[in-house]
């Protein structure tokens, strides 16, 4: 019961976060794109709660609006790579044999492949923007989930009840979805939640290739990168989106933990 309460509590927080992100453009106190050079780099004060950036734009508004781009692109990317990666990992770990060999060698190829090369090629072929950035990252990032899932499957597949199910003639797909998946879903969920922060920053890291948020779009990772040189002179420029990322990561992580707690099948 306690698990259920924790799950709903953090679930509500996530929902709140998503609602705020979606509603951001309508609730911002100032136009997040309106530049006003004379008021550039003002420290947080009564008018601008989080101060202004180098163009004089209100940071609080930009952080709000940035929630949309940042959270939604990160979530999209995370879902794609985790679902795909877990899928491959389960199949590989469960069947073993040549299926495992082939899949794992393919995984090796993508794991070893420097993601920057992909990014450069995607940028050249498809152009910039944040969706293309996600595509470039997705091509490489799923491999981690595959290997992690596969490792977890190894620890699970010899469990007595699974062996029993197999001997009973239960279909493989049923075993994988009803027995194996729930066992590893908890930990994998935690992994995905943990990756929220990394994904956000990786999406921002590609911006110099033109991949990622293009001006004047507000995006937390880009805001942190762009404000980097002002860490000592105008720290609020970096700390504000950083705090937003921290909060988001914390909420997702706690939610991930509660999911894990809840899903854990007690035998």
């Amino acid at each position: 019961m306690k698990r259920y309460k924790a799950l709903t509590f953090y679930g509500m927080l996530i929902l709140l976060l998503l609602v705020v992100a979606a509603a951001a453009p309508y609730i911002v106190p100032y136009d997040p794109y309106a530049q006003n050079l004379p008021t550039a780099l003002e420290a947080p004060n009564g008018i601008h709660w989080l101060g202004t950036d180098r163009y004089g734009r209100d940071i609080f508004s930009r952080v709000l609006v940035g929630a949309q781009t940042t959270i939604f692109s990160a979530l999209l990317l995370l879902s794609v790579i985790s679902v795909f990666g877990i899928f491959i990992g389960i199949i590989s770990g469960y069947y073993g044999g040549w299926i495992d060999t082939v899949l794992m060698r393919i995984t090796d190829v993508f794991l070893a492949f420097p993601e920057m090369i992909f990014a450069v090629a995607v940028a050249a072929a498809l152009g910039g923007g944040i969706l293309n950035a996600a595509a470039a990252l997705a091509l490489v990032a799923w491999t981690k989930y595959a290997r992690l899932a596969r490792g977890l499957v190894f620890t699970v597949r010899h469990m007595p009840y699974i062996v029993a199910a197999r001997m009973n003639g239960t279909k493989n797909s049923a075993i994988m979805s009803r027995h194996i998946l729930p066992n590893i879903a908890g930990t994998m969920f935690v992994t995905a939640a943990l990756d929220m922060g990394t994904i956000i920053m990786e999406l921002a890291g590609l911006s110099f290739l033109g991949l990622g948020a293009m001006p004047p779009m507000a995006e937390w990772g880009a805001m942190m990168n762009n404000g980097r040189s002002m860490i000592q002179t105008a720290p609020w420029v970096v700390v504000s989106p950083g705090a937003a990322i921290f909060l988001t990561v914390a909420i997702f992580n706690l939610f991930g933990d509660s999911v894990r707690d809840y899903l854990d099948p007690k035998q």
Partner: protein, 512 residues
């Protein structure tokens, strides 16, 4: 068991901290005078990680760090002055005789004669990629302390090109060992790596006695690291600090800043192939909407000077000797209206014939100022109803090749050798390598040809002014600002001054 691990942890961390204690090693040897210099401009990526001036851009390191010197050097107005040479005589349009000083010796003690210079220059044009095209040398003759150079074509700016760092005079007989060459400068390279150059005093220096025993030039590619290294004293001076950091060194009791206006300009070219930009009024309107003052004062933290034309004010043919478009939002709006662009649907952007005025601004990210200019322009143009779509990418060449841009913004050093011809040849003519706007003007072609054949300095200046004015009247380019570059150093550093050419850093005058 938990307790055991916690104990291990404690021991580990304690061990780490205790060995880390102690003050940072700042001065190696109290008896030696050592200058530690951090710079963003050195490294394999900049193609200057070496000291042989005949190799790509290594000459910049040779001259910057006091290892080599050229026949002529630039003063603050970017005019040439004698250095290793003390005079010259233009014999005819194709031949010039250069007379060397009599007291110059290489750091290994050998005298610098006409023959030494001849050997050096011949190696230069044999090995270097750019020098042959710039100098167009046919023959070099040496006699005593002078060399006579004959060119294949008329090269009015020959002496200026010789002042380019690739013209540093080195001892060809000594050759190159481990990236080290023998030059005439106040310091000698002891070790050269991809990230560092170690220099020692040249005891044979022909000029004023060098005051330092050792110099360490460190390549630091991260702006924040450079800033903090200067703050905690790990380096004595820094070049290439991010603009925002300069405010940290405003305390005059601890630091000094030396700045110089360079000829590096941030410019944007209008693509004449774009329908909307074929109209002069549209180009004028856009030029008028760019807030150059805001850009330099706020975004560059004062490290720039608003530009009028491609050349900066410290040059005789630069600054406000020409007239461009003033910053005038209302006038810009009026011009757009005259050209037929009106906001019919109230969305804040203007349209003509049902099509909104949307332009693609292409630029790259390796120079931090360009994305700043792009984002500022985007907001400025919004004020007059023009929608700017910014594409700031390292991949800009692909877009250039596919001609997917309406405005292309870049940074360019317009007069690296103090001579105006280089900029026009490279940007505004039909055959120019960098004429990204497909600009054409018959008059410009005529004037350029005339410039190629004019030797008289004043006439060249006058032509340059006329050509710039033509560009500005045609509104072919927006010149946003010229870069001001700075050295930041501890208060006790003397003789370390920024130069508009960006070629001279370590000299005999340097002292701490």
């Amino acid at each position: 068991m938990k307790k055991v691990t916690m104990l291990c942890l404690f021991i580990f961390i304690a061990g780490l901290l205790s060995t880390g204690c102690g003050s940072v090693d700042k001065q190696v040897n109290e008896k030696e005078k050592v200058f530690r210099y951090g710079t963003m401009a050195y490294g394999p990526a900049m193609e200057n990680a070496g000291t042989n001036p005949h190799d790509t851009y290594y000459g910049w390191s040779t001259v910057r760090y006091g290892i080599g010197e050229t026949l002529f050097k630039f003063n603050n107005q970017m005019e040439i002055e004698p250095w290793l040479a003390d005079s010259y005589k233009q014999i005819d349009d194709y031949t010039v005789q250069i007379n060397l000083r009599n007291d110059i010796i290489f750091s290994n003690g050998k005298k610098v004669t006409g023959d030494a210079v001849k050997a050096c220059l011949e190696d230069l044009i044999a090995k270097n990629d750019r020098a042959p095209g710039d100098l167009k040398i046919k023959t070099i003759e040496a006699a005593g302390q002078s060399v006579t150079i004959t060119s294949k074509e008329k090269v009015p700016a020959l002496l200026n090109y010789l002042a380019d760092p690739y013209g540093a005079i080195i001892d060809m007989e000594a050759g190159e060992k481990d990236r080290i060459v023998v030059g005439t400068g106040p310091y000698v390279a002891e070790k050269v790596t991809d990230t560092e150059i170690d220099l020692v005093k040249n005891t044979n220096y022909w000029g004023e006695v060098p005051k330092l025993d050792r110099i360490v030039v460190k390549s630091i590619t991260d702006g924040d690291t450079l800033t903090m290294a200067l703050q905690n004293g790990e380096i004595d001076a820094a070049q290439g600090l991010p603009y925002a950091s300069l405010d940290l060194f405003k305390d005059e009791n601890k630091y000094k800043i030396s700045s110089a206006n360079t000829s590096r300009v941030y410019q944007a070219a209008f693509n004449y192939k774009t329908k909307a930009l074929k109209d002069l009024r549209v180009r004028q309107a856009i030029s008028m909407a760019i807030d150059k003052d805001g850009f330099t004062r706020v975004l560059l933290h004062g490290n720039g000077v608003p530009a009028v034309g491609p050349f900066p004010g410290n040059m005789h043919f630069g600054g406000d000797v020409v007239k461009g478009q003033p910053y005038d939002i209302e006038e810009a709006k009026k011009l757009l209206q005259e050209a037929g662009y009106i906001d019919t649907d109230g969305d804040g952007y203007v349209e003509k014939d049902g099509k909104p005025l949307e332009l693609r601004w292409l630029t790259y990210t390796s120079r931090q100022e360009l994305p700043l200019l792009a984002e500022s322009a985007q907001d400025s143009l919004k004020k007059i109803g023009v929608k700017l779509i910014v594409n700031a990418t390292d991949n800009y060449k692909s877009f250039l090749k596919r001609e997917e841009y309406d405005i292309y913004a870049k940074a360019f050093v317009t007069a690296p050798t103090g001579d105006p011809e280089y900029y026009f040849t490279t940007h505004v003519l039909d055959h120019s390598a960098y004429n990204h706007g497909f600009y054409h003007n018959d008059n410009m072609e005529v004037m350029a040809e005339e410039l190629r054949n004019t030797f008289d300095k004043d006439k060249r200046t006058e032509l340059a002014i006329r050509m710039q004015q033509q560009l500005l009247d045609d509104c072919a380019f927006i010149y946003a600002a010229h870069l001001k570059m700075s050295f930041v150093m501890k208060k006790n550093v003397r003789g370390f001054e920024a130069h508009p050419s960006d070629y001279y850093e370590i000299t005999a005058a340097l002292d701490i």
